[in-house]
């Protein structure tokens, strides 16, 4: 069965990570799982891309006008942590329903719980595997 992917059918994912190797990796994992990917190197850049700057809420279309269907972010980042980014997204009336996935290299239960309580969709352990990302991708369409 062949599927023809139209622009609108392919989920657009924003991937946020301060580590350049991890950014390249998560981008490839997502592209291999049939997603369109935009990467950001920190929380501030991510918020700018999403059209959220400080307390100003602009529309949910970014500069390119392409909607983001999911945000996947590292937890440990300098400046703004993944948790703080998650918080800002959940506080936004236009973005609060966009699923946010947190990635972390450390399996700390309190961290995981705090993220899930703040509304993260999933908490994933790094390094990410292709099987994990494919499962995530599948969840996006169901």
């Amino acid at each position: 069965m062949s599927a023809e992917y139209h622009e609108e059918d392919v989920p657009h994912v924003l991937a946020v990570d301060d580590n350049i190797i991890d950014r390249k990796l998560v981008e490839k994992l997502l592209k291999t799982s049939s997603c369109r990917v935009t990467t950001a190197e920190n929380g501030m850049r991510a918020l700018e891309y999403l059209g959220l700057r400080e307390n100003h809420q602009q529309n949910h279309c970014n500069n390119n006008g392409s909607k983001v269907n999911m945000i996947i972010t590292d937890y440990c980042m300098p400046g703004m942590t993944g948790y703080e980014l998650l918080q800002k997204i959940k506080e936004s009336s236009v973005l609060k329903d966009v699923p946010v996935v947190i990635m972390s290299s450390e399996n700390v239960e309190t961290r995981m719980n705090e993220c899930l309580e703040m509304g993260a969709q999933t908490f994933m352990l790094k390094p990410l595997k292709l099987a994990d990302v494919k499962k995530l991708r599948h969840q996006l369409t169901t």
Partner: protein
């Protein structure tokens, strides 16, 4: 064709030894799985990024540990980066030293940190040499007209 199959055998033996000796772990296999026709140099690209990033981190670590008053939070932050990137490419022995290194940072143990720095540099150079040798082998196979064996 004898040359190709000999090179391929060498490749398989060398790769297996890297896993058996703990230089590489399953995460490296994950990287190879992501390589395809649309991105035939993916592994080399990621690993090259790792080399560049690591060399920067090693310099930053050396500088941070040379300060009159060592900022252990800063040192730990560099080690955390190193741990993350080495883990992402499957450089297991480097990651393991980083774990120990972070403990020394937490304890503000300068001697421990200096020893870890030497150790992590050593492990990094080892894995870098081995990966470069692996990539050279791959090139030899391709240039001889063969294909890279898939490792399961």
């Amino acid at each position: 064709m004898a040359a190709v199959s000999q090179l391929q055998r060498q490749f398989i033996e060398y790769t297996s030894s890297l896993y058996n000796e703990g230089y590489l772990d399953d995460q490296f296999t994950q990287l190879q799985k992501l390589q395809d026709e649309s991105n035939p140099d993916f592994v080399v690209e990621v690993v090259s990024l790792f080399f560049e990033d690591s060399e920067k981190l090693l310099n930053n670590l050396a500088t941070a540990l040379q300060q009159k008053i060592v900022d252990y939070k800063q040192v730990d932050s560099h080690v955390h980066q190193f741990k993350g990137s080495s883990s992402s490419i499957g450089a297991q022995r480097v990651t393991n030293v980083c774990v120990h290194f972070r403990n020394c940072c937490e304890e503000k143990n300068l001697d421990g940190c200096l020893r870890c720095l030497q150790q992590v540099k050593h492990e990094y150079i080892l894995v870098r040499n081995k990966l470069e040798a692996l990539f050279r082998l791959e090139q030899q196979i391709l240039q001889a007209g063969g294909s890279i064996p898939m490792m399961e």
